[in-house]
Symmetry: C2
DNA sequence: TTTGTGCCTGAAAGTGCTTTCATGAAAGCA
DNA sequence: TGCTTTCATGAAAGCACTTTCAGGCACAAA
């Protein structure tokens, strides 16, 4: 059984208050006493228990992350940013996986009440007004990533602008037949509809340039590679098939790439493919894509929760991250 | 301010003991009293605070995972298994990123003392005898993944056998010039040397069949795609280049694939490529590989820590997961 | 000698539950 | 009716720290 603050106090012949002070604010205690206590601490190998400290300080030094982790690939890179910022700030990271609407619902309602967390980061989940207001009222500092809500801090990108950037890039490369492949990660009512926005942006600039965007007959209601592959097959089978396809995510772009290979189309000569996200594997496979600074989004979110933790009264802040195309080999 | 157990007790006109019993073992309390208390609980919206419960029970319902997450791609899939098993068991998952030897050292020495965790899972980190014994003695239940040690529970695979499986598979496909590309994730003294073992297994079966294995002149001391690409270039530039390359991981295989593309080699006709791990993207890009059941390893590890948590005296258990080749398009 | 002024230090409250132990009431039995 | 047994409940200890508050003590000034 490890030593407690009481053991140290007895051993050094002082009160526990003094031991606590030696640990937390040594300058306030008489040098002679301090050295004696320090020797006792070392002799007994005393280390304050994190949970006891947390209780007394009413600060847990833990921040939670709620996300549909395993259905959604972009989380790793966001998490990377979150983890490193959090660790720099001396906070631990606890992970809540929310792949189903039921899980999400349960977490969202219990986490604020359990009072185990100092802050919470919610990734890629759409929150309705009621929920957002409840969260805000619960007193648990929250930051959103990818989604936004007026009453909660958040960091996102301009998805419509992303579609415009993609369209301009492809048209600048001479494409006049542009296809779109999309779909969103389905998590019930919490599903975020970014794919649609990216398509809108694409259509805007295409229309302005007199270029028509080809959209699959059946829009997918999920975001798997297989869906994308089927969508691509459909587009490529048309009488005037697209010479370029913009996929609403890198994962979907993989499906397009596969479809191209199966139809013996050379990329980018016969078919240019442009993704969205800039996931890690995009670089590996040479996929051209729109980068949305995933890692930075994680760091930003940590800053936002920290701000909310420092001052609960502060107004929600919203950060919008820039987008840029990363030119590689597929477009 | 949320309601506490005291508020409920007052409201229902009972003692806090009774409220506690209604929450935790309702069958032991008189139905009339029970209903009254339950009504008070609902009226006040009482939810027991997780940290208070944890303290009183001396059980935190949190398990930690320590791993070089962001230098090591296989973690996502392992984590998926861990997260879902943990959540089924009602435990939370706290993540400790350990990309540098210094971080690892600090975590390994502080986590057992801070007493915030009920258990710890350590992924892909080599522990020396002293550390393993210390951990064991600390009383914090531990399970290892990918590494093993006699005094700690662990789940791993037979890496040498993995090399043999790869060699047999490639030779059965007719290859007589087999190349190897390898390298390990470098985390100082904690670096695990699995690449070497996989090579040994490959050499064993090749030698037995009179086939020579081609190994790059400069073995890489890291495991990046770029390293693998350079290694592959070197092998392919030889007078008698390999017709198949076994890469010690899927990430490395990506580098080989890239090298093949740059040299205008068709895969698998001109060069067969076989990976190891079966990461998620392997399926996406059609990479043939040796699966090591990453998700299962996570589930197994949870079982092992749980066993250790249930009975601290129990002997360490070791589980070895099966390997099998997943035939796709590259070999 | 008395009063004032800091500096150290200890006592004690606060944190919100679980769980053991003891007690009283009610029920069962002869 | 008197005794035992069971059931339901409350009191209180325990958890391991931080932090506030008050007071003791030494030293300087009056």
């Amino acid at each position: 059984m490890p030593a407690t603050i009481y053991d140290v106090a007895t051993h050094a012949g002082v009160s526990i208050s003094t031991v606590s002070r030696v640990v937390n604010s040594p300058q306030g205690v008489n040098p002679a006493t301090r050295f004696r206590v320090q020797r006792s601490i070392e002799a007994l190998g005393f280390v304050p228990r994190a949970d006891a400290t947390a209780r007394a300080r009413r600060l847990h030094r833990q921040v939670g992350v709620l996300a549909p982790f395993f259905t959604y690939s972009a989380f790793v890179q966001r998490l990377r940013g979150i983890a490193s910022s959090l660790s720099d700030a001396g906070y631990e990271l606890v992970v809540y996986n929310a792949d189903t609407p039921e899980h999400i619902h349960a977490y969202l309602h219990s986490l604020p009440l359990l009072r185990r967390l100092d802050g919470l980061i919610i990734i890629s989940l759409r929150l309705d007004d009621m929920l957002a207001v409840r969260l805000r009222a619960s007193g648990l500092p929250v930051a959103l990533i990818e989604a936004t809500h007026p009453s909660l801090s958040g960091v996102d990108v301009d998805n419509r602008e992303g579609g415009r950037v993609a369209g301009k890039y492809l048209m600048a490369a001479g494409h006049r037949q542009i296809g779109f492949v999309g779909g969103d990660y389905a998590v019930g009512d919490y599903t975020l509809r970014t794919s649609q926005l990216r398509l809108q942006g694409l259509c805007e600039v295409a229309e302005a340039a007199g270029v028509q965007v080809q959209v699959p007959a059946l829009p997918a209601n999920s975001a798997t590679r297989e869906d994308a592959q089927q969508q691509a097959f459909e587009l490529l089978a048309r009488s005037q098939p697209p010479t370029a396809i913009f996929a609403a995510s890198d994962t979907l772009a993989l499906g397009v790439l596969r479809a191209a290979r199966e139809r013996n189309l050379r990329v980018p000569q016969d078919l240019a493919v442009l993704g969205f996200d800039d996931l890690e594997f995009a670089e590996y496979i040479g996929l051209s894509t729109i980068s949305q600074s995933l890692e930075v989004s994680g760091r930003q979110a940590v800053e936002l929760v920290m701000a909310a933790m420092a001052d609960e009264q502060t107004l929600p802040r919203h950060v919008q991250l820039p987008l840029h195309v990363v030119r590689r080999e597929t477009a």
